[in-house]
Symmetry: C2
Subunit: 416 residues, 2 copies
């Protein structure tokens, strides 16, 4: 079978299976998830031995230690994957909820029902834990899924998929509710990404290169986890300790993540500019400042280049700019932000409200660290990712982002 036919036949089967999974009850879906979790724990030895094949091949190819580490499935990680399946089973089921049901003047009752999207494609790099994690999110939200993992993890993914399939069979459900694409040639991907007649959304999971490729090629709408060039603005009268602890937390606690601060904006009248910057330097942060910032501690601060304001460092480096007003701060943010997360530290009520209302990012914080932009911290449970798109899903995405709404109408024979 050629690649086109192979992919199309997978997509057709997934589309048919999506009608079955869409109508399962919450109890049936949870039973399936717990069954997969149970099987993962039963089959640890098998998974580890299949994973060894991938690790050996990857070692032969000379993959970096970081990539090798992501590829490893040991008993602890498999237990973590099983625990994650059970957590997803414990989440509220978004499907079937009806909102805003009203009687209209014509007599019809109209409301909106939350329903699954249908078929979800997921393209990811060589982290085999994504296989069960994303399959579980799709199952819980009532969607069929088609998974395409990195070729370095094919044996691990196939082992995990065999377990998922077994659980589907034992639940008397169609196996095509979850499909793993087991052919690994790269030529498949563009074919796959044009299957918009069968697939409702595609989710790329991985680095910027993968996401960019998917965005460019795909005719299927893309839901993606985005990068973050996050700003914090310290207002003139901000509390010294609050400004310090939020800035340090947002930069230092985990600098490599999308909700870490990359640029600090400080009001020119803020009294503790120098001690704030020193606190960051003491935590090992390299400061790249505007000319006014450099003047504060000339021997410890590098001048920022124009590109620095555009840079997501993902490292212990920070751009710092001194601004004349909250308006200047918001203009800087409008120009340079990636629309992910921005915060103000202030004790001024009006400035807090102005910043909250006017800054056009997927999450806006008053007196809290940008690091809180996270599905778990926002009460969504398992996270699909954080989106900076404005349509469909914006900010931290939970199960709801894998669903849509339809109008439902109850009548008694009404006509127009």
């Amino acid at each position: 079978m050629d690649n086109n036919r192979y992919i199309e036949s997978i997509c057709e089967k997934a589309r048919n299976a999506s009608r079955i999974i869409a109508k399962l009850s919450t109890g049936e879906k949870n039973l399936l998830l717990n069954r997969i979790a149970h099987k993962l724990l039963e089959r640890i030895d098998y998974i580890v031995s299949e994973n060894k094949k991938d690790l050996t091949a990857a070692g032969d190819k000379g993959l970096s230690d970081a990539l090798l580490d992501r590829l490893v499935l040991n008993p602890d990680r498999i237990k973590g994957m099983a625990a994650s399946l059970k957590e997803i089973a414990a989440l509220d089921d978004p499907v079937g909820a009806v909102e805003n049901m009203r009687v209209m003047p014509s007599g019809i009752r109209v409301g909106r029902m939350r329903v699954p999207l249908g078929v979800i494609a997921v393209i990811y790099e060589s982290r085999p834990n994504v296989t069960t994690d994303i399959a579980a999110l799709c199952i819980k939200s009532g969607n069929a899924s088609i998974l395409r993992g990195g070729k370095e993890s094919i044996n691990s993914n196939s082992a995990l998929y065999a377990i998922v399939r077994e659980a589907l069979r034992e639940s008397a459900l169609p196996e095509n509710i979850v499909t793993l694409i087991e052919r690994t040639d790269r030529e498949l991907v563009p074919v796959f990404l044009k299957m918009n007649n069968y697939i409702d959304i595609v989710i790329p999971r991985g680095g910027e290169g993968l996401i960019k490729m998917v965005k460019e090629i795909s005719t299927i709408p893309v839901i993606k986890h985005d990068k973050g060039l996050c700003h914090i603005f310290i207002d003139a009268g901000a509390d010294e300790e609050t400004a310090k602890s939020i800035s340090v937390n947002a930069k230092v606690q985990r600098p490599g993540v999308c909700n870490a601060m990359e640029t600090l904006l400080i009001h020119k009248d803020y009294k503790y500019k120098e001690s704030l910057i020193k606190a960051l330097i003491d935590e090992g942060v390299e400061i790249r400042g505007c000319s006014k910032t450099v003047q504060l501690i000339p021997d410890r601060i590098k001048p920022a280049s124009p590109e620095d304001w555009h840079t997501e460092y993902l490292d212990l480096i920070l751009s710092v700019k001194i601004v004349d007003s909250i308006e200047d701060a918001m203009s800087h943010i409008a120009e340079y932000s990636s629309g992910h997360s921005e915060a103000i530290v202030t004790s001024d009520y009006l400035n807090a409200e102005t910043f909250l209302r006017e800054v056009d990012s997927s999450a806006v914080f008053v007196n809290a660290s940008t690091r809180f932009h996270d599905g778990g911290e926002f009460g969504l449970g398992a996270e699909v990712g954080i989106s900076t798109e404005k349509l469909h899903a914006r900010g931290a995405m939970g199960l709801e982002s894998l669903t849509t709404m339809k109008y439902i109408v109850y009548g008694k024979g009404e006509i127009r």
Copy 2:
């Protein structure tokens, strides 16, 4: 200025103006809308005389009567446009509403605020009333808009736009809150549709050709009004009168619209098949049936071709199929429907619920005509259109479809 630079400069100005309109109060926006309405009524003679230029040019070019009719602006139509502006002013303002505000275990309070999308592009054909209508919807939802109308209506559009601009100036607002692209060359369109750095969504308003072109070229997300291949299923025990009145209404009342019925599915055990079909024939409907349908009244029913099941007639023609069960009806719908509107006529409780839950269309009806799928009938007020996309906006779209949500977080110095 070349076309690229011309379009980019318009987009930049609109992006800047979007920050101003986004923060206007409901009262300020309503004042602006009423001011535009007032000016339209004051300037009827001017608008009519500018419209005459378009009509003369169009007559010279030999445009069809239908196209000419759409182009006409007479005092009655202008009064209608002003009334529509006032109606939009009277709608609820979606912007600023906060939902689901909760305190999380960390202490932060998290909710979601409804906010404007930013900049909306609208491409439409030669119906000048769209100019004020869509500008008003964008104003009310807090968005800047860039309008590109058909070149046959350029004088009318420019006249209307001059009035909008005047109202903006008198309100001490930036004129670029609404922009009309006054250059009419076709080469502009592809340039315009690639401005995804400045424009958040594009709305095509017009025929299928325009929508298809926009979908294919645009790198900006598209919100569109879709065609409808709508089905009604008459269940075995459906009430005779209800089945007849809903079927006739859905097919005959206004056959040229997207929510009219195109295919009728009848359960084989429904007792009044023949009289139902006769009632439709009596209303002037041409019936194209499956072989079993043809047997009912052989001399009055044509056999349906395979393409008929795929056809949106928008005319007094109807495909009719006799099916063995509700499952068969739903399978037919899953295969042929455009996902717009489907209805069941039934007296069976379980079948009503099954159809409602399982049919994957933007609106699903029990015992009511598909003709009710309409923003006004659903209580949304002015309608942006009806979408069969699953992401962002599905089904009848009101002002809310021109907005998005952002997370807002109130803290007291919380860190992770």
